[in-house]
Amino acid sequence: MPFPPIFCLSAIFLALVGGPSCSERYEREYKVVRITTWDEPPNTPEGRILGAIQREFDRTHPHIKVQRRPIGGRRTDDRLAFTTAMAGDNAPDCYHNAHFPTIPLWIDQGFCYPLDEYIREDPQFEDVVEAAFAPATKDGHIYGVPSQLYVLALVYRKDLFEEAGLDPKRPPKDWWEFAEYARRLTDPEKYRYGFAILGQEWASWHWEIYVWQAGGEVTERLPDGRCRIRFTEEPAVRALQYYKDLRWKYKCIQPNPLQSYQDNRRDFVQGRAAMIISSPAWIGDFLNEGLRPEQIGIAPLPAGPTGIRATQIGGEFYIINPRSPKEKRDAAWEYIRFMTSKEAMIKRLKMMEEAHLRYPIATFYRDLRVEDYLTMPEEWGEASATSLKYGRMEYYLKDRIEPYLARPIQAVLVDPGADPREELEKCARRVLEEVVEPFNREIERKLAGRCPRGSS
């Protein structure tokens, strides 16, 4: 034998013990900080672009080692995974998927480190649309930086429009035109319906848009933080009546009005649904599932009876783990700053163009136009930009009121005899007694200084 066994064993032992120790000494000497994130990109065309930007960060920031892990699971599972990780003190230093409606809850739970010290001195965020920070702002402190933004618009099948004798370049402009189009697009013999309505548990996610378009509000946040119910007013009744009409008068929605949003999307891809409320930023999913760009039309949501063209804005935030030590928080901030910079956004758009991923994503920089970088149907960019102009945040106390609001919405979709006003009033009585009044009492107690901070 060339080497005695004892020599080989000693060499292996030294490599195992000495190797890591050497790299640890290097990192200490050169002050390399390790942070963990959960944004390992998936193996999709969009994921590969994200990976390229991350590698650019790694190259330009050798003093920060980012350990990336995948989140995995369905969309709601990642919130659960993060909550569990926070409870077990095993959460990443930097997390990119704090959803708009969820982040206020996470701020209350203490999951997010306040970023004022970083943002205040940073000119990078002077150009950002201010409303983008609103959901992550509490008591004047900012707790997150937007990582993704979406705005809801009308997405429709141009090929199905043509089949039904409708002009695909002329999407519906208002509620009545929309209902008429949906009726004409419905063909039971072909298992096809005009519009995939959202009737499942989160039905109010889309229904709130109709309430805004009718000139009303679902709830109102009073200046002192208390909540006022507004969904018994005339605009909300009108919006619910419209839902009822789509189902029973125009007969243009799916046979199972309560099917999930995933089922709605599936129907749209498979040509069973001609129109759906979705985001231009999610067109990539439709393209990945086999649709061609020329089959998809995007338009701002039709205006309501008042002429208002409201829609909903949402997205996710980057947050920093408050339990991470200072040097990791600083490193995490550098990472966030890089990943959300205008330069990174432009690089992403250019790579999307090269990869033929030509669909409009919403950006939160005022002067950054997606259509300057992506070759896509003109109306896509216009529709996305127009929708952004009319975008609004979700209604106040949504997380607590949503399970109650599902009932009246589902009632009018499953029962032709359900009266929208009566259903909303019944719902309002329960919401007032069980959610709003206790919530408002808590607020009043906090204002009076009798309740400690942090209780929900």
Partner: protein
């Protein structure tokens, strides 16, 4: 303590330890959490005493969920509880081919329950589901199985009515444990099949039926997966159940304390009904 007892304890101790750690400790923790406005990051948070229980008892969603759970349990009991027993009795009577049927009854256990539920979701599809296709062939109108509040509960219970599974095996083992001499003696005395069933078989396996009932009760009140996959609690709260309420409050609203309070109430109810059932069973002995 004798050496024999010590040895016995040593063998039982690891399993007991795991049981205590993963069953009883979490139960005690849930009790503790229910008394606080639980903070995930900095437990325990603010002490609120019985506030969560008061809130739960005055919540309409809470009572709707209880009512739904009760109806679902009773539907399952009336329509499906007896099916595995009948299957086991028939299996017991078989002279040949019993093995094949036992395999057939056990094979579905290899399929993850979630997969089964997703298949049922397709079966229930109002446009192209199998169930409506059969109804149409029979000249009957198609139904909105998951979207009709009057049918949604039945739709949740239906997947469990086909029997099979471990219940059949448990009953079969109990039936095969009944001495054959009793049946032969009864036959000599002129007893018919129904009399043998009523006076010999059922009394002999009564304890197994009681255990299966308790398991069914527990499963009925803890029903979650079917609701989560098939209906999400709708339509119009027709299938909103306690377990779903707990899930939503805990993991979507982050109200761990409130969710724990509801979970504790569920535990107490199941425990009480189980204790009553066992007591009634002892009294009738």
């Amino acid at each position: 303590m004798s050496k024999r007892k010590l040895v016995g304890l040593a063998f039982v101790a690891p399993a007991l330890l795991v049981f205590v750690l993963f069953k009883y400790v979490p139960m005690l923790q849930v009790f503790r959490m229910s008394l606080y406005d639980w903070s995930i990051l900095n437990p325990p948070g603010e002490f609120v005493g019985l506030k969560h229980f008061k809130e739960a008892f005055s919540s309409s969603l809470f009572w709707i969920a209880w009512k739904n759970n009760l109806v679902l349990f009773l539907l399952g009991l009336v329509l499906g509880f007896w099916v595995p027993l009948v299957q086991a009795i028939m299996l017991g009577e078989m002279r040949r081919g019993q093995y094949i049927f036992r395999v057939c009854y056990l094979l579905p256990l290899m399929v993850p329950p979630m997969v089964t539920l997703v298949v049922w979701k397709w079966i229930y599809n109002p446009e192209y589901g199998l169930l409506n296709a059969i109804l149409t062939r029979l000249g009957l109108p198609p139904q909105d199985w998951l979207g009709n509040p009057k049918l949604a509960k039945l739709s949740l219970v239906l997947p469990g009515l086909l029997g099979g599974g471990m219940g059949v095996m448990v009953y079969l083992a109990a039936i095969q444990g009944v001495p054959q001499e009793l049946f032969e003696a009864a036959e000599i005395d002129g007893a018919g099949p129904l009399q043998k069933l009523r006076y010999i078989l059922l009394p002999r396996i009564r304890f197994v039926i009681l255990i299966q009932f308790i398991l069914a009760l527990s499963a009925g009140f803890q029903m979650f997966d079917r609701v989560f996959v098939l209906t999400g609690g709708g339509p119009v709260d027709a299938t909103r159940v306690i377990a779903l309420l707990i899930y939503r409050y805990a993991f979507e609203s982050y109200r761990m304390g409130y969710a724990s309070a509801i979970a504790l109430v569920l535990f107490v109810v199941i425990l009480t009904v189980t204790a009553l059932q066992m007591r009634l069973s002892k009294l009738s002995d």
